[in-house]
Point group: C2
Chain length 351, copies 2
């Protein structure tokens, strides 16, 4: 064994190239077979007889051989990589989804290559171009608001594509998510039914998903003639807990008799709660608060906060499952999956 390695080192040095690590040829020589047989034994053991398989396994272990994914990708025109594009890393929503994706992959051969689009369609397009250039096994992208060019790029990529986080028609290929419009509508209807009349909307960042929640909110209020543009307070600033308080103050300055707020997300809702506590505004009696996403902290806050629970982790799991099914040639039940959401009613909206 030592001799094998030594002589290989020797020849590497002579050629002045190569990684210095054992190659499939080294394994083949040691096992007394052709390289291609080693390749087969590694990729699909059923193609090789049991005896040779044993020989090869021994050689692999003895040399500590690990296939070079780059060479494999080049030769087979397909990299064992899934490109994942998210608009933000700070947003816990995407952290949960990523976790679902990683968990779904388990310890299989597929790796994740992640890109952060920073909510920019231009950046998304650049990243997709870059990712596709390595011919990934699949792509998972956030949202359905790609530019026309981006859509074309994805359509012509010959790998499974999953759009995640939203629900809608006409996906590029497959889609897993839920309806943000409905989420906003259900939350707002709940506030209406609970007896609130001056229901504000507080939103940060206002990306496409936030816009759809806002549209759902508006639609619910308009249906009962309670809509008033002054009720909406938004900013393009990224969401933070500390922004919630500021936005509530802004909202109250415009609408003194505000009696409820539907927040774009839980961070803002939490900020609103703290601001109410500080300003002595009783929740839920003088002010109701409803969040979105239902982070863990919502149920232990005091008072506990109503929110829309979203299936973030499950979206990641499901997206990966669809990719794996497709790559394995298994049939996909439906290319469009609505994972829904759930209204969690808590103290903050129970007057």
């Amino acid at each position: 064994m030592t001799d094998d390695i030594a002589s290989r080192e020797q020849s590497r040095k002579a050629s002045r190239r190569g990684s210095g690590r054992p190659t499939i040829a080294d394994v083949a020589k040691l096992a007394g077979v052709a390289a291609i047989t080693v390749s087969r034994a590694l990729r699909d053991p059923s193609l090789v007889s049991a005896e040779l398989r044993a020989e090869i396994d021994t050689a692999v272990i003895q040399l500590g051989y690990a296939p070079d994914p780059n060479a494999r990708a080049l030769a087979s025109a397909r990299a064992d990589v899934i490109g994942v594009l998210v608009p933000s890393l700070t947003n816990i929503v995407f952290a949960d989804t990523l976790r679902g994706i990683y968990d779904g992959l388990g310890d299989g051969p597929l790796q994740i290559q992640m890109g952060n689009t920073h909510y920019s369609p231009r950046e998304e397009e650049r990243l997709i171009r870059m990712f596709l250039s390595q011919r990934p096994s699949a792509m998972i992208v956030s949202g359905i608001d790609q530019t026309e060019t981006t859509r074309k790029l994805l359509e012509s990529a010959d790998c499974p594509i999953v759009q995640i986080m939203e629900y809608g028609d006409g996906p590029v290929d497959m889609l897993v998510g839920f309806s943000h419009f409905d989420g906003g509508k259900v939350a707002t209807n709940h506030l209406i039914e609970a007896g609130y009349r001056r229901i504000g909307f507080i939103g940060a960042r206002m990306d496409p998903r936030s816009q759809r929640r806002l549209a759902g909110y508006r639609s619910a209020l308009e249906a009962v003639q309670l809509f008033d543009p002054k009720l909406i307070t938004t900013t393009l600033t990224p969401s933070r807990v500390s922004l919630g308080g500021q936005l509530l103050a802004d909202a109250l300055a415009k609408v003194a008799d505000l009696d409820a707020v539907f927040c774009n997300n839980d961070d803002l809702a939490m900020g609103v709660l703290f601001e109410c506590q500080r300003a002595g505004i009783a929740v839920p009696h003088r002010m109701a608060i409803c969040g979105f996403n239902d982070l863990d902290m919502m149920q232990v806050a005091y008072p506990s906060l109503t929110s829309i629970r979203t299936p973030r982790y499950e979206i990641g799991r499901q997206a990966v499952q669809m990719v794996l099914d497709r790559l394995a040639g298994r049939p996909i039940a439906s290319p469009i999956v609505d994972l829904g959401f759930e209204l969690k009613i808590r103290e903050s909206t129970m007057r």
Copy 2:
């Protein structure tokens, strides 16, 4: 142009291999130069005359050429990938650090390949093996508690290695972080100075960094003869806001006269605050709370919460900077960087 593409398509179909996308040879033919010149023009334009560069740029745009990273990696024995290993994706701490890493990379050629070790040294070892097999340009790993084997693997990898999040001696290569022991000590000393005497420690997950914070806490209390093992309440469960309340209840059951808690992290601190509000325990008069990390919500909570601000984002930036400097052959000021931390004193510890 159309002809070029058409004829290329033709020859691809004949050979039945290839990706169907333009290659460097196509660009070379169109620009009337050798392939290697295109390669040079793309990687280091200063190696090629201005005229040829212009020709090549035109051809690249005309064909929509994008280099194949796999082929490049194979030929140059170096992938444009940085392997990043984090123990958790849910933990906002690592999300911030990842953001720093991505931002530090900007839109350069380097891509991130991330692995989630789930706080398991075994898993970390497996992932490092897997990552190294593609000869990454660099590796960034969390913590300094690798197994002996993992350390050896990293030491023999001929690429820059940065260990992040902690401060300590003898890094594998480079290291960026801060001292968790000191953080725990400073926080605890602050509580002592503020006049608290029965200071508890509340911790979840209890990974190596949590252990070091605990050690700092203990050392501070022992120095003034205030240490008591009953003051420590920990669990191996992953941290969540909702866990903070439970742990506080456990702590109070053991130590009825508890008058302060130093929490392992801000999530727990927030949970403790909510539990105090719910139970009618006045903060900071009957109970002081100190967190760790200083998330944005700490300063707007009511009362605002004291915490140790940690340079999470900066760690990511700095780690990438060191990698880039090293790859560019620039000198590194110091291979070990202590980014420190800052005690943020707020209402929750001001009796």
